[in-house]
């Protein structure tokens, strides 16, 4: 049997969009997902989850009493990252490590002062608790950071620059304090847009199938193009609205710098909404069931956005196969673009490739969505 060919009608589209609008306004669950959940997420990431830890308890073993060793010990004692217990030997601190009171031990060796005098400072020893890998890495990195900062000052005071220790001078541009909130808050925008673009869209289309309204729609002369557009437009606007709310909260509540332009931000979010909405439509066309649709949206969109986009876990430190997998996660291109527009500014060289990739995925998902949406109950 021939499927109907109907001309696209703006009036019918408008009628459908108005209907969608009232449904969004009157359905408490839509309101919850679109407005309340993003705010909860944002505040969760902004306040509760922080990847920085201040005042980590560590042991400091100073086996040398030379002036440079004392100055280095002092540098550790003053560091905001550490709360230091000092000792002359490792032995008394061992128990603290075993009990978990101490997260690491930093040892300044006995020949430290001599070595510095000979311009060949010996390495300091950093013992960390490998059973807590994240904390261990943090302790090691910051212990090294404090040492290299000390070394820079030490050399400057002596007017020596040539003999600077080999591994120094890490300067963190754009986020000099390495404040993780600066990453998390823009990153949560990715979550919010995934939730509205994919989860909500997938569910509202599946709902039409479940409640039998799809059947009644198909008996009217609407075209599937009109139907799809009537789902895209409202949720596109809704997602942009929530994104704007999150961006405003990021800047004015959490004090995240915004160095790019508003237009660039919208260009990025628009590009990301293409794959997000396309995936949502594809899921609902393929499943027609709200429960399955929401599970699929969680697994294919929401979880990858959190775990594989570089938002929480750094992509460079993932195993290579997983790194390769991240390339098919659209949010992977959103996160760096957002970080750039917030923390660095309109660096088009960095932003444009990401936008391009997002649009490419958008095109793929839309193609699939149109392939699978049939104007038939078969």
């Amino acid at each position: 049997m021939k499927l109907p060919r109907v001309r696209f009608s703006g009036r019918r589209l408008l009628a459908l969009v108005v209907k969608e609008f009232w449904q969004i306004v009157r359905d408490p669950s839509t309101f919850l997902i679109a407005f309340v959940l993003p705010m909860i997420l944002l505040f969760l990431f902004g306040f509760a989850i922080s990847l920085d830890s201040y005042g980590t308890r560590v042991g400091l073993v100073v086996q040398d009493s030379s002036a440079p060793a004392m100055r280095l010990a002092q540098a550790y004692q003053h560091s905001p990252y550490f709360e230091v217990t000092t000792s002359r030997s490792v032995e008394p601190l061992r128990k603290g490590m075993i009990d978990g009171d101490l997260r690491g031990i930093i040892v300044i060796p006995a020949d430290f002062g001599d070595g510095v005098a000979r311009m060949q400072p010996p390495p300091i020893q950093i013992i960390t608790d490998g059973s807590q890998p994240n904390t261990a890495q943090f302790v090691a990195a910051h212990a090294e950071g404090v040492r290299s900062q000390w070394a820079t000052i030490e050399n400057a005071e002596r007017g020596v620059s040539i003999s600077a220790p080999v591994d120094v001078s890490a300067r963190f541009w754009f986020n000099p304090e390495l404040n993780s909130r600066y990453f998390l808050v823009p990153g949560s925008i990715a979550n919010v847009m995934t939730m509205i673009g994919t989860l909500l869209t997938a569910m509202v289309v599946a709902r039409e199938w479940e409640r039998g309204t799809m059947e009644a729609m198909m008996a009217t002369p609407i075209s599937m193009g009109e139907f799809i557009a009537s789902k895209l437009l409202p949720y596109f606007v809704l997602a942009q609205f929530s994104m704007t709310m999150c961006a405003l909260a990021s800047v004015f509540v959490f004090g995240v710098p915004f160095r790019g332009s508003v237009l660039t931000l919208f260009a990025i979010s628009t590009a990301f909404l293409m794959p997000a909405l396309g995936l949502g439509l594809f899921i609902s066309a393929a499943t027609k069931n709200q429960f399955v649709a929401s599970q699929l949206a969680l697994i294919t969109a929401f979880l990858p956005t959190i775990m594989l986009s570089g938002f929480v876990f750094e992509i460079q430190s993932m195993p290579v196969p997983i790194q390769l997998l991240t390339h098919v996660v659209p949010a992977r291109y959103l996160i760096p673009a957002l970080e750039t527009v917030f923390l660095a500014g309109d660096q088009w060289g960095l932003i444009l490739p990401n936008i391009g990739m997002m649009l490419l995925f958008g095109a793929i998902f839309f193609f699939l969505a149109f392939r699978f949406t049939k104007r038939s109950l078969d």
Binding site: M1, K2, R12, K19, T213, S376
Partner: protein, 581 residues
């Protein structure tokens, strides 16, 4: 692809075949013609293929074989002329009555300046004008039905396809709906009305009767009933023995079908045999036999080869429930509030051992709430009740253990096989292993489930689902059975078989509580109570209610449905008077 156009038709289909996966096709070479200005009935039990055929006519599905012609074209080319109301009405629950109408008017391209006039006419037609700003999700079932119809009528169609408009609607709304359809046919619209209720078939001009995807009868309904003319009798005069009388009558070879109608028994006699007299039926001298008006259902039963015989193997093997002075089921002022809303108010009744008691009422009247309180699934806000001597408030668990529960829908696990369902329910009722095995074997034998033990319950034909559901509910031989709309939508032969078992069980002393809005089921009850707007408005034997309604509405020989309508209208009248005073 336009097929041959039958003269004087707005829609026709020829040789439609449609299969979903392997197995029997949903439709097997079915044809239909819808004439303008006539109501065409598409009649058959659930699963007969009615919805599939309507969807194919509406252009929502393609057929594997056959042609569909709507006004000389394919359905997809005639969308503007087709009005279609799906089973679930297709309403947006978050939109108001007016917004739903506006949406459908715009989608169907009704010019904006005509909206007011058309809506005004539809409000008047459906009597929904007062509710135009109410969300459609907050409408009663009957009002949703009317709004669904109004949405299908925004652009006056020439073909109106209605998929089971009578389901889940109380008799009053159903009667109003028929009146509305009558008006539409006067305008020359061709209406297709699909239904599982055989009494609705009698109201149609042409009937297409489907059974398991096959067309079993085509023509005016009178053609089918004429075949059983003079062979239907009504037997009265044995008051309390009517169930036994039915069992005995059905076991005779000259009786091919029989049902209980209040105090009377209605029998269909086989072709070519004389009508038996009271003596032949083995009944007393006070027995009166009179001819009865044949119904469409009688014709259908005859077409299907007659109903089941009278003796229930289930009842024969069931334990005798010992007599007891206490009532088997008792409700004493059961009341349930949800916030300000009273879902059931002061419900009182007692059911002695070995009786069938019916809770009747429109959807949302409070039947299910009462039912759930008695099952111990809802805690009553006020009042108390007991089941088999167990007080609901203090011993809800033991009350539940002494009842069997069966709902025609939802009570089985569709993803478990027949054997697994039986095992599960045996376990749920805590039958010891040896007894469970025995009980399962007995059920498999009685209900003929042997060939289907490994089939998933969800894929069983409806009749077998029903058998399995009953088997699961009675495996532990409970003294009390709760039945929730047990046979709506089932074909009449299966329904007879079900009630044959229930009748047999009742003779063994089992007490049955049944909720229904299906009048046929009400006729099997010893007594019924009519619940309306959370109140009990009438209680008594079906005959007493019919007599009461007959007096109220001056109706001669009222049916149960007439009684239902008359009593509810009377209640509404009193309600309005009460408000006015």
């Amino acid at each position: 692809m336009a097929g041959p156009v039958a003269p004087d038709s707005v829609a026709s289909a020829v040789g439609i075949t449609k299969a979903f996966g392997p197995g029997l096709p949903a439709l097997d070479s079915v044809g239909i013609t819808i004439r303008p200005g006539k109501v065409t009935g598409l009649v058959g039990p659930d699963g007969a293929g009615k919805t599939t055929l309507i969807r194919i006519l509406a252009g929502l599905m393609s057929a594997d074989a056959g042609t569909v012609t709507i006004l000389g074209g394919a359905p997809s080319e005639r969308l503007d002329d087709i009005g279609y109301m799906p089973q679930r009405f297709g309403l947006y629950e978050d939109l108001t009555v007016r917004e739903n109408l506006t949406l459908y008017a715009q989608l169907r391209g009704l010019p904006g300046e005509e909206h007011e006039a058309v809506f005004g006419r539809l409000y008047q037609f459906t009597d929904l004008g007062r509710f135009q700003d109410r969300l459609s999700g907050k409408l009663s079932g009957g009002m949703k039905q009317k709004l669904g119809l109004a949405c299908a009528l925004v652009r006056t169609p020439r073909v109106l396809l209605l998929d089971e408009p009578g389901v889940g609607v109380d008799p009053i709304s159903r009667r109003e709906l028929w009146a509305m359809v009558g008006e539409l046919t006067e305008q020359g619209i061709g209406v297709l009305w699909s239904t599982a209720y055989l009494d609705e078939a009698e109201l149609c001009d042409d009937v297409y009767l489907l059974s398991e995807g096959k067309q079993v009868f085509t023509g005016p309904p009178a053609d089918l009933t004429r075949r059983v003319d003079g062979r239907v009798i009504r037997v009265t005069g044995f008051a309390d023995r009517r169930r036994m009388a039915l069992t005995e009558a059905l076991d005779r070879s000259d009786v091919i079908d029989g049902t209980i109608q209040g105090r009377a028994v209605r029998l269909l006699i086989g072709p070519g045999v004389p009508i038996p007299d009271a003596e032949a039926l083995g009944m007393g001298s006070d027995t009166l036999i009179e001819p009865a008006h044949p119904r469409f259902e009688d014709g259908f039963i005859e077409r299907l080869g007659g109903g089941p015989k009278g003796t229930s193997a289930l009842a024969t093997s069931y334990r005798e429930i010992p007599p007891n002075d206490e009532p088997a089921i008792e409700a004493q002022g059961l009341t349930k509030h949800f916030g300000d809303f009273v879902a059931a108010g002061d419900i009182r009744f007692t059911v002695p051992r070995g009786e069938i008691f019916g809770l009747l009422g429109p959807n949302g009247a409070g039947k299910s709430t009462t039912f759930k309180m008695l099952c111990g699934l809802l805690t009553p806000s006020e009042g108390t009740g007991s089941v088999a001597g167990h007080d609901l408030r203090h011993a809800a668990a033991s009350a539940r253990a002494s009842l069997g529960y069966m709902a025609q829908k939802f009570s089985l696990y569709g993803d478990l096989s027949v054997a697994q369902n039986l095992d599960f329910f045996a376990g749920a009722y805590n039958l010891p292993r040896a007894r469970a095995r025995q009980a399962i074997e007995r059920m498999v034998e009685i209900f003929d489930l042997g060939d289907r033990l490994s089939v998933n319950a969800g894929t069983l034909p409806l009749g077998f689902k029903q058998r399995l559901a009953l088997a699961c509910a009675v495996m532990h031989e409970p003294p009390v059975l709760f039945l929730d709309e047990p046979t709506s939508g089932v074909d009449p032969v299966m329904r007879r078989e079900f009630w044959m078992h229930i009748n047999g069980l009742v003779q063994k002393g089992v007490t049955v509580l049944v909720t229904t809005h299906f009048m046929d089921e009400a006729e099997y009850c010893d007594r019924v109570t009519l619940i309306y707007r959370a109140e009990q408005i009438a209680t008594g034997t079906p005959d007493a209610l019919k007599a009461q309604a007959g007096a109220l509405g001056q109706i001669e020989d009222p049916t149960m449905e007439d009684a239902f309508i008359a009593l509810i209208e009377e209640q509404d009248r009193r309600h309005t008077q009460g408000e006015a005073a």
